[in-house]
């Protein structure tokens, strides 16, 4: 990832998002499409809950034996004629990929959608070294033209409207007739198809991520609706897969289990259109396919998460359901998080990858409502891990002073029931008088965060404990 982490300025980012009506409109649309879609798909599959348990259990087993499954995977890739590279961090991954591209004499590289390549900043690195990456997933292509980062892990351009896409296409596709009509999404899609088809056919190297790495067969699996990941890998001479180590699953049956959860949770489809298993380079006699196959396994902080209270985060299959159901994500969209990974999963994962110092806001900007956990197909306890980050923040004294003071003051009172009783009685009476007949306060010193947006209902006047005591009750 390049540049200073924008996650450190989260409140400012959120403010900007809330002042952006087209963005808010686009995010609101997620409710009708992805949320309802998921609901319908889940209701139509009686085994869904059992599949969630099975997914959680097989991933937990895999992580407990991750070293051995990675070795098994590597062995099978090599048996099939492929190469496996191990990258400890982003810099190493980028350097390995560049070496392979340069050895292949690559000028342009087509890319399937891969969040890992976003995480390591691969595109900028390749461009800086004379290799031109072309995003081929429609959403990724759109944001590449705009110089933006994805705002959602499966719908990267969800924040962009069709007028903006048309304007970008006109700006970049300068060899096409300027009078052409680009009013409707269908024309935009047709244009993208034509432009990118040329890129697919001209590419020297294709780079994809992997939804799964199958230890049993040495296969890498990609899941797309467009077919772009497939065209990126079967046309060029070299196919490079960049995947983080926790993507390993033991067997094809394990892939099937998680596949049943993935599309339903992500978009409400029962299966994505293309689920492709790639094993090594083309075989003798194959009429097409890449001649060279490379898998780059990336650690970048995952191994350090094992054995910690954040290990469960490694079960994530990047479906995006938590984003779609999160009241905070739904209010501000993905860019405000200032991280490659937004929403609940991003708030848990980012501090592990980036450090808590620059990402503490993310774990705090949550009501801990728990809806994310309730829809996570892999039953990841996201609120629990958000709380763990808050504990670490508190232990390391990173909590803002005002918040620490407020907590300490509350604790002081709560530890002393008599003082607590006296203070609350006074304050309740005072506020109730202040509010008068209206029953609510429209402003109150020190409570600006509340009263800026809402009235503060007045206390009834007496506290329960004093009223109870007055009635001679215990």
């Amino acid at each position: 990832m390049s540049g200073a982490p924008a996650s450190a300025t989260f409140p400012k980012n959120a403010r900007a998002a809330l002042a952006n009506p087209p963005l808010l409109k686009a995010i609101a649309h997620i409710e009708e499409t992805l949320v309802s879609g998921r609901r319908r798909a889940v209701d139509a599959l009686p085994e869904f809950e059992a599949l969630r348990d099975a997914g959680r259990d097989l991933k937990a087993h895999t992580l407990a034996h991750l070293d051995l499954y990675l070795e098994a995977f590597e062995q099978k890739v090599v048996e099939a004629g492929g190469h496996v590279h191990w990258a400890a961090d982003a810099a190493e991954a980028n350097s390995i990929v560049l070496d392979i591209c340069q050895a292949a004499g690559a000028r342009t590289v087509t890319k399937g959608k891969s969040m890992i390549t976003e995480e390591v900043g691969l595109n900028a690195f390749l461009e800086g070294n004379g290799v031109r990456p072309v995003e081929t997933d429609l959403g990724e292509y759109i944001i590449q033209l705009r110089g933006e980062t994805p705002s959602h892990i499966i719908a990267p351009a969800v924040h962009v409207n069709k007028e903006q896409v048309a304007a970008d296409f006109r700006r970049v596709h300068t060899d096409l007739d300027p009078r052409r009509n680009l009013d409707e999404p269908v024309s935009l899609l047709a244009e993208a198809r034509g432009v990118l088809r040329e890129r697919f056919l001209a590419a020297d190297v294709g780079i994809t991520g992997a939804n799964f790495l199958v230890a049993e067969t040495g296969s890498t699996v990609i899941v797309t609706n467009e077919g772009n990941g497939d065209l990126s890998q079967i046309l060029p001479k070299t196919h490079i897969v960049l995947a983080s180590i926790e993507k390993v699953v033991p067997t094809l049956e394990d892939v099937a289990t998680i596949m049943r959860l993935l599309a339903r949770s992500a978009t409400g489809q029962e299966m994505s259109v293309y689920t492709t298993f790639s094993t090594g380079p083309r075989r003798p006699g194959d009429p097409d396919g890449p001649e060279a196959f490379h898998v780059v396994l990336l650690d970048n902080g995952r191994s350090a998460m094992l054995g910690t209270e954040f290990e469960d985060m490694l079960r994530c299959i990047r479906c995006g359901a938590c984003l779609n159901h999160c009241p905070v994500y739904r209010s501000i969209g993905g860019h405000a998080y200032g991280s490659v990974y937004p929403g609940p999963m991003g708030s848990v994962l980012t501090p592990s990858l980036q450090g808590l110092e620059t990402s503490a806001h993310l774990a705090n900007a949550s009501t801990l409502c728990g809806r994310c956990e309730s829809v996570c197909p892999m039953r990841i306890p996201l609120p629990k891990m958000l709380r763990h980050w808050r504990e670490k923040e508190f232990e390391r004294h990173l909590t803002p002073r005002k918040a620490r003071f407020g907590l300490a003051a509350w604790r002081f009172l709560a530890d002393r029931p008599r003082l607590y009783g006296l203070t609350t009685r006074l304050a309740a009476w005072g506020l109730s008088r202040l509010a008068g007949k209206s029953g609510a306060l429209t402003s109150l010193p020190l409570a600006g965060g509340w009263t800026r947006w809402r009235d503060l209902p007045a206390p009834e006047g007496g506290t329960f404990r004093t009223e109870w005591a007055k009635r001679g009750r215990h």
């Binding site: 409140p11 959120a14 403010r15 809330l18 009241p327 209010s331 501000i332 705090n364 900007a365 949550s366 009501t367 409502c369 728990g370 809806r371 956990e373 309730s374 709380r387 980050w389 808050r390 504990e391 670490k392 508190f394 232990e395 909590t399 918040a403 407020g406 907590l407 509350w410 604790r411 009172l413 709560a414 530890d415 029931p417 607590y420 609350t424 309740a428 008068g436 007949k437 209206s438 029953g439 609510a440 600006g448 965060g449 509340w450 800026r452 947006w453 809402r454 009235d455 503060l456 209902p457 206390p459 009834e460 007496g462 506290t463 329960f464 404990r465 009223e467 109870w468 009750r473 215990h474």
Partner: protein, 254 residues
Amino acid sequence: MTPKPRVGLFVTCLVDFFRPTVGFSAVKLIEDAGCEVFVPAAQTCCGQPAYNSGDRAGARALAEQVIALFEGFDHVVIPSGSCAGMIKVHYPSLFAGEPGWTLRAERLAAKTHELTAFLTDVLGVGPLPTAWEGTATYHDSCSGLRELGVKDQPRKLLAAVDGLTVKEMRDPESCCGFGGTFCVKYDEISNAIVDRKAADVRSTGANLLLGGDLGCLLNIAGKLKREGSTVEVRHVAEVLAGMTAGPAIGGAKR
């Protein structure tokens, strides 16, 4: 004659401070259901603000206080899903590695209940002799719903209230944006969330909003009032106990 069950009422800091009527409603409901109600005077806070802010030590200290005060009762009943959730779901984990305290926490957790769950699931109360004419909508508080499974219980109790119809929101289960300190730490985002919730409430055409958590209700009521809405907001206990003579939450005094 079997002695009446001894119930300790954990009134919660918000009910104690803002709305004692909720506490008295809870007492009436529990007494009418055949229990003896006690309110330990030294109770203050369940420790959730500290817990959610990462202050485990502070939360644990308050938990010890609560356990000591309440563990002698047959049941502990709380008119709040979030405080009940704190005690039932989170208290045991505060004492990990300490078998003595863990056992006490688990024992307390086992007999702690959110109010509507206590009335329905534990006591199995029948229809209450209450009436309220009009349409109400119900907000499912996140902790009550997701930590304790409170969903059907309040609706079952409300279904038996004479004259009252419940009309559901489009999304009763979505968060209201309160989240404890979240609503003031990230107030703009909290506002965006409560804005949607208030719109959902208004879209039902109901003249009453009910819920089981005062934090949520203060938040939504404050928003509705700021928007000039006439929807009344009350804690579900008030309607169930027939204690609706006083002003609604944030409502004008008569």
